[in-house]
């Protein structure tokens, strides 16, 4: 006898619907948490002490990995780009190209990835653990809004300090690229700096600062929101952390596309 529920198509449909439902619920949770964060920001109710604490984590904890990733990537790009440009007589453009690539794309996105892995995952697992061990419920009973205490300071710290991480990482990346160009293609550092100067646009720097501010706030919001929605036990803490990381990566790609479309299209 034909049983609809046993067909592969039906099972596939159920699986797909589950994924769509999960996607919509997560999006809804993030939207709700954002509206509550916005309410506190508009009424200027920000826990300064907690924001300073979270800012230290955001800027200090993620800096070593961010510097490593951005530095290595820019060195690798310079390693491949500089000899080729020099061979074709365009060695003087190495600095310009490095600056454009580094400021517009590489440093913001790479430091975003570093922050997701270092800080975002830690935010998500921390808040999820608090949720499954009833610490968030305890906060509610003590009449302290967990959104105000946990999410708002992290959101503000993310928005303010990701640009700082970007500036330091991008500077370090450009230095690395210069040194590698000098080593691989015998390009003089003076030429590199002169060329770099031509590729540095104030507009690009401001756009990158704005973009990284969006990245930082979004990573913090998504990480906290995924953790906040966790229910159950250790497995859910892991799932919430994974979800936060995946969603943060997607959000960075989304914002990057939006910024590129608005400012460079």
């Amino acid at each position: 006898m034909f049983e609809l529920k046993k067909t592969l198509t039906y099972q596939g449909y159920i699986l797909l619907w589950g994924q769509i439902r999960d996607f919509l619920i997560t999006l809804g949770n993030i939207g709700c948490d954002f509206s509550r964060v916005l309410k506190y920001l508009l009424s200027l109710r920000v826990n300064i002490k907690e924001t300073i604490e979270q800012s230290k984590r955001f800027a200090y904890d993620s800096l070593p990995i961010s510097l490593t990733i951005v530095g290595m990537t820019s060195a690798i790009i310079a390693m491949q780009l500089a000899p080729e440009l020099a061979r074709q007589g365009g060695g003087d453009y190495t600095g310009t190209l490095s600056a454009l690539v580094m400021i517009r794309e590489l440093a913001p996105v790479m430091s975003g990835f570093a922050i997701i892995s270092m800080v975002g995952s830690s935010f998500a697992s921390e808040v999820a653990s608090m949720s499954v061990t009833e610490q968030i419920n305890a906060m509610r009973v003590l009449k302290v809004d967990p959104v105000e205490y946990l999410i708002v300071p992290r959101f503000v710290a993310g928005g303010l300090f990701m640009p700082v991480v970007f500036i330091v990482s991008a500077t370090f990346g450009l230095i690395c690229a210069g040194l590698v160009s000098n080593w691989c293609a015998d390009l003089s550092l003076l030429n590199y700096i002169t060329s770099l100067w031509h590729g540095l646009y104030i507009r690009d720097i401001f756009i990158a600062l704005l973009k990284t501010s969006f990245f930082g706030a979004t990573i913090a919001l998504i990480s906290c929101s995924c953790g906040y929605a966790a229910r159950g036990g250790a497995k859910e803490v892991g799932l919430a952390t994974t979800k936060a990381v995946v969603w943060s990566f997607l959000a960075i790609a989304f914002w990057d596309f939006v910024f590129a479309s608005i400012f460079y299209l």
Partner: protein, 241 residues
Amino acid sequence: MTLEVKNLVKIFDGKKVLDNISFRVESGYTLGVIGFSGSGKSTLLKIISGILYEDEGEIITPKDSEIAMAFQYSALFDFLNVHDNIAFPLVERKDYRKKYSKEQISKIVSEKLKMVGLEGIEEKYPSELSGGMQKRVGFARAIVTNPNIILYDEPTAGLDPVTSTMIEDYIVRLKNELNASCVVVTHQLSTIKRAVDYVIMLYQGRIVFTGSVNELLSGRNEYAKQFVNASIHGPMNIATS
């Protein structure tokens, strides 16, 4: 300060986990809520404390009432030390912020720790404390705002008999000192006997027994009798509860 619960209904996924629950707890009295696991006891406490919303019915408390809750696993903030855990509502709550100086807060914390028999552990972190000590720190945090309604979720679960007795004594002591209305959710008969004035019993979300501790122990009610005798035979089907 009276706590009154009227015709409370809570539905999860179409199933009534609390069905028409009504009771009243006067100041200076402790109500024990007993029942098998899954009978809706903890849900009841979560609704009274404001963590969950009721679907029907109402929780009536005076306007200026202060509700506190001691959680089953203490729910201490593991990133804060004992002092900061207890001081948390005084520092972070909107209506308490800037009301007390740092010195005053430290004094209040020490007083509350003394009330639960723990002194000099302000600098320790929750992970450095035993289960019984964590429970008592949880009590101290709950009473730091001098609540008039105190809810205890399984206060003696997982503790040895001696520590359980100590915890039960603190429940009685805190009730008397604060003249609070208390609700204790428990499975332990010893807690019922030592710390509770009267009892309601829940089964499948409904109240199946209401009475004093002596009435509970007398065995006149079939549900109460089955619970007290820890029997698998009786009106309550444990497999479906």
